[in-house]
């Protein structure tokens, strides 16, 4: 192993870092991006915590977060406002990593958990709980019993599994993946609009807000599950990321390097789907974060594929900033998901136009 690492070091011209069996390459630019994103995240988070009916200055917020401040401020910050910001940051991080994984696996910037059916599957499950709880027979009763977040998680996982099964045909082709995911999404959206029609007005209002992805009224009970998932999955994803390097070389070369190509793909995709479904369970579908963030991160860090850690930080930053914009600039109860779509959809169009130009050049 040592010789391989030595060679890597020589070829890349970068210092290798080793801790026991773990080794990584020191990339100053990636580290700078991660640190800058984290600093910005803390600052924006503090601003976001400070805004509200009882305004608190940024300095005071930071003092409370490190353990000082008055009792009143401590209560407002820790119990009322911190969970919302934390939930947004964790959801954004999970979506960023999920997007980086799917885009890395597919070697295609257009693949994201959104097109894998995760978000729409979670949406149908959540609406089943909101609309049919108590009247929909055993299956819905079971879903309602486990609670809306778990139901959304199950729905997202099932939909993604369905897409993978239907798109798998002598290997996983990125384009077939996108199109099958799109077809499944359309069917699920039809089910969603049927549930919206049979709901009463209050249920429909609740459902539409959930479907747009909102951080309203998020407490510690929403923060802890997504935090646990991130703590468990993120290290595994980072440890497995070297497989992405092999996949980057193309299927044949990766096989030549001893990589079991399809197994690695399914494994990494599975991690991505778990992250995306957990994020959706916590905050509803916040679309386009998983698509946009890895693409921005890869441009900032200058690597060959979306970086996991930097995508996590950038995703957290985007969702927290989006929520701040939704609450302050747009006012009222505009869900953060509206902001991310308004930013993300034009970016997707831009990516498409650029690709089309490049293909035809």
């Amino acid at each position: 192993m040592t010789t391989t690492e030595e060679r890597t070091r020589e070829v890349a011209g970068r210092r290798a870092m080793r801790m026991g069996p773990v080794s990584a390459v020191w990339r100053p630019r990636t580290a700078a991006v991660v640190i800058a994103a984290l600093v910005l995240l803390v600052l924006l988070g503090a601003v976001s915590i400070g805004r509200g009916e009882y305004p608190i200055a940024v300095g005071d917020v930071l003092r409370v977060l490190v353990g000082g401040g008055s009792r009143g401020e401590t209560f407002v910050v820790n119990q009322l406002r911190l969970p919302r910001v934390l939930c947004g940051a964790l959801v954004g991080a999970a979506l960023g990593v999920a997007g980086a994984l799917t885009q890395g696996v597919a070697r295609n910037p257009l693949v994201s958990p959104d097109v894998l059916g995760v978000t729409d599957g979670a949406g149908v499950a959540a609406l089943l709980v909101i609309v049919l709880a108590g009247s929909g027979g055993t299956a819905v009763g079971l879903l309602a019993a486990v609670g809306l977040p778990v139901a959304a998680l199950i729905g997202g996982l099932l939909a993604a599994a369905l897409v993978v099964v239907l798109a798998y045909r002598q290997g996983l082709d990125a384009f077939r993946f996108i199109l099958v995911g799109l077809g499944i999404s359309v069917a699920l959206v039809s089910v969603t609009s049927w549930l919206l029609v049979i709901a009463n007005v209050q249920q429909a209002g609740l459902a539409l807000i959930w479907l747009r992805g909102s951080l309203n009224a998020r407490g510690w009970e929403h923060v802890i599950p997504i935090a646990v998932v991130l703590v468990l999955v993120l290290p595994v994803a980072i440890a497995l990321a070297f497989r992405l390097d092999a996949l980057d070389l193309g299927d044949d070369a990766a096989r030549g390097l001893g990589e079991r190509v399809d197994r690695s793909r399914v494994l990494l995709l599975g991690l991505a789907v778990v992250l995306a479904a957990s994020a959706t369970a916590a905050a509803g579908p916040i679309r386009f974060v998983a698509l946009v963030v890895p693409q921005v991160a890869v441009r900032l860090t200058g690597g060959s594929r979306p970086p996991l850690l930097a995508s996590a930080c950038a995703g957290a930053l985007l969702v927290v900033a989006g929520d701040l914009v939704a609450r302050t600039v747009l006012g009222g109860e505009v869900p953060v998901g509206v902001v991310t779509v308004v930013l993300g959809a034009p970016y997707l169009l831009y990516l498409l136009v650029r690709r089309t130009r490049k293909d035809s050049a």
């Binding site: 384009f175 029609v197 209002g205 998901g337 498409l352």
Partner: protein, 326 residues
Amino acid sequence: MLALVLGLGALALVVVLSVAVGAAPTTPAEVWHALFSPTGSPTDIVVRELRLPRTLLGAVVGAALGVAGVLMQGHTRNPLADPGLLGISGGAAFCVVLSTTVLGVSDVYGYIWFAFAGAALAALLVFTLGAASRGGPTPVTLALAGLAVSELLLAITSGMVLGDGPSLDAYRFWAAGALDDRGADLTFQVLPFMVLGLVLAAANTRALDVLALGEDSARGLGQNITRARVVGLTAVTLLTGAAVAVSGPIGFVGLVAPHVVRSLVGPAHGRLVPLAALVGAVLVLAADVVGRVVVRPAELAVGILLGIVGAPFFIAMVRRRRMVRL
């Protein structure tokens, strides 16, 4: 010729079913009575005031969407083009919601112009994307562009209706895409636009046949590309905009109808356009009849039913063909 006979037979069948089947049970004798010697009995009113207009509406909406699908697949040279998937219905829907909730327009002659504007904008976007590359956009590019446009408009639409109870209530029924409670006058109000769209589509068929060879060859054969595109875009806008304005967004008709017809009569647009109109009408009416029966006594909106049934068709197409690498 056989295809035409088959299509007309299927249309006759679904029209009969659409007039005869519904929440209020009617015997064939009662339907006959209502159609040819009405006396104002309750079943006469059900058949003449509710089911006949609804059948007419379903037929024209289906025909419009089927033809719009042919035009879009022809102009983008793309087998997955559909007014719904490519965001054109979404554009029309967005502008209708904008006009009814924000501007307070309630008259169909008021908001149909918004539907046209929205459909035209979205169609323009898709066609521009198509023109940006020499070989035409891949199915994936187009599908994702449609996704981006629809998602964007949907987000803004829901942002507008979320804080407003009555709008939200109206929106969720309209967004499902349904034919009930529309009234005969509404159908006749949008009919002129659809007829104009169909005429333009018929005028566009020869140009489409030439364009199928590629833009360069078409230009070499003396085809005026810009004019052909403008005519096609106008027709798509009129057909989709009018259909969405009256029935809400209904997907997959524009995708399925052209493929069914193409498998029967081949790729010549002169035959594709009229037969796709026929098949589109049959599809929408059949879905509407099924939607009335499956969840009795409630109804399943035709847009929802076509979404659930159309998706497997779409996936089967994606799996079967090697088009994904186009």
